[in-house]
Symmetry: C2
Subunit: 292 residues, 2 copies
């Protein structure tokens, strides 16, 4: 999330996936997708599947899980699609098992899903699904998650319908950065955390700047600079690339501003013939919701 | 300050300098040092002097200042000696002028003193002198200072009597860093800010880690690793190099722990025949104090 690359994440209400989990009397995992994304249903090749297999193995469980998934968060959107499947599986299974795991343990299991999706066991998208709100991943091994305050802000996100693979988006990053840029970045992340905890929207806005990742990755996103510039003119607090892209998000203080930004985003991509999905949401303070 | 290199600073009660300022009827600056540090008294070569000259120039002032300085913070200690002179001059002059400047303007003027001392107009030591407590320098141009909460902690600092010039300590730093180290560092600074604002001492402790600057600069400080290791065994929360060194500081929750650390620090340097000055202080919530 902007200057919090790899450590900061935020839960939103929409789009969301629905998952239905049932306990089985045998230690196996059955995955069924009720969506059109063509994701593998073989448990060991499925993001939710590997999480559940790991849980069964860890507990030496004699039971298993049957899972039906209705995905709405498009894979490869940068909106945390794999995290939603992985964290959803972990939280759902924990509910069926009588809530035997703590939240950091659920993060631990869900990261196996992220590893399958991107090759990296990162928790920055998993943690907000499980804790809600905005979370800081202090460490993923051992898992050390810091839940932050939830500012009363609107999130506008646009997903231009081109795919950027997380693994590709990682590969174009340089392995070294200038010390002066790193210092600017840690000033920004420090300001952002202070702004979130002090509920200081101006400070949040001034701190939503990424001098290291965004200049490189934004090259993969058509119209990124234009969308950002116009969003700021429309009074966004700030924003940037969502996850590894190509989705872009902007924060704003009012629903009116968030709607104007949504419209501008849609128009911008329409203008160059790229289909896009736009959504508006408050920050979701509770993350994954258990439905009956 | 540890993972907040160049952006985070903290005010302490001791050691401190005393400055006496008087208004003169002519636009000149007179500096007198009542200490044994051999600092130049020529205003344009004196840290306090250049700040006052800049203020006179900025206001096109017809008056001037006579300043008597009793320094106790040793130059080159890493305890912010130059910042104390520069910020003290700015705050004192502002008081005599009827408090016409805002705090960020005082930071602006005081940075000219830091520039004279180290060649860099940095505000990380200036800001806590002027604002008190722990401050985040979001930007030094324009000046954007974020005052943070003041945790109820003890600071133990030791100054081994060897000189490390700020300019030398800057020169040994590499101009590039690994992205993975930069990410670890911004996780630590984010955790530290969250810990300070949430008053979570455990989190402060886990976050007081500097993977970029400390491994390089600590080479210049005799016994650094041993002092750090022993401090942690004595239940320090954490700590690191103060400023650009050679002083080292440790935070702890109780006065008893801070005293044990102070004793250990003194003994460690005595053991290798290096004289040292040790001090214990709470974090100073108000910074520079005006005395009558």
């Amino acid at each position: 999330m902007v200057c919090g690359f790899d450590i900061l994440g935020m839960a939103i209400h929409e789009p969301y996936d629905e998952m239905e989990l049932k306990l089985l009397e045998t230690p196996e995992v059955i995955i069924r997708h009720r969506d059109d994304f063509g994701l593998p249903e073989e448990p060991s090749a499925n993001v939710a599947g590997v999480v559940l297999l790991k849980m069964i193995e860890h507990l030496n469980l004699k039971k298993g899980f049957e899972v039906t998934i209705r995905k709405r968060i498009k894979p490869g959107s940068g909106l945390g699609s794999s995290a939603a499947s992985a964290a959803g599986a972990a939280v759902g299974a924990n509910e069926l098992l009588g809530n035997i795991f703590k939240r950091e343990e659920l993060v631990y299991f869900a990261m196996f899903g992220e590893e399958l999706a991107s090759g990296v066991r990162h928790a920055d998208n998993i943690a907000p699904c499980i804790y809600g709100g905005i979370t800081l991943v202090k460490s993923s091994d051992p898992v050390d998650i810091i839940p932050l305050s939830t500012p009363d802000l609107f999130v506008t996100a646009v997903h231009p319908q081109i795919e950027v693979k997380t693994s590709d988006a990682r590969q174009i990053l340089k392995t070294t950065v200038l010390l002066k840029d790193a210092i600017a970045q840690w000033g920004n992340i420090a300001g952002l955390i202070a702004g979130i905890q002090k509920n200081d929207y101006g400070l949040i806005g001034r701190s939503l700047k990424d001098v290291i990742i965004e200049p490189v990755r934004s090259i993969l996103i058509p119209k990124f600079d234009e969308i950002k510039k116009k969003s700021m003119e429309l009074k966004a607090l700030g924003g940037g690339i969502s996850g590894s892209g190509p989705s872009v998000f902007m924060l704003s203080e009012t629903e009116k501003v968030s709607r104007c930004i949504a419209e501008m985003m849609k128009d911008t991509y329409d203008g160059i013939g790229i289909e896009s999905m736009v959504c508006i949401s408050k920050i979701n303070p509770s993350g994954i919701t258990i439905m009956d």
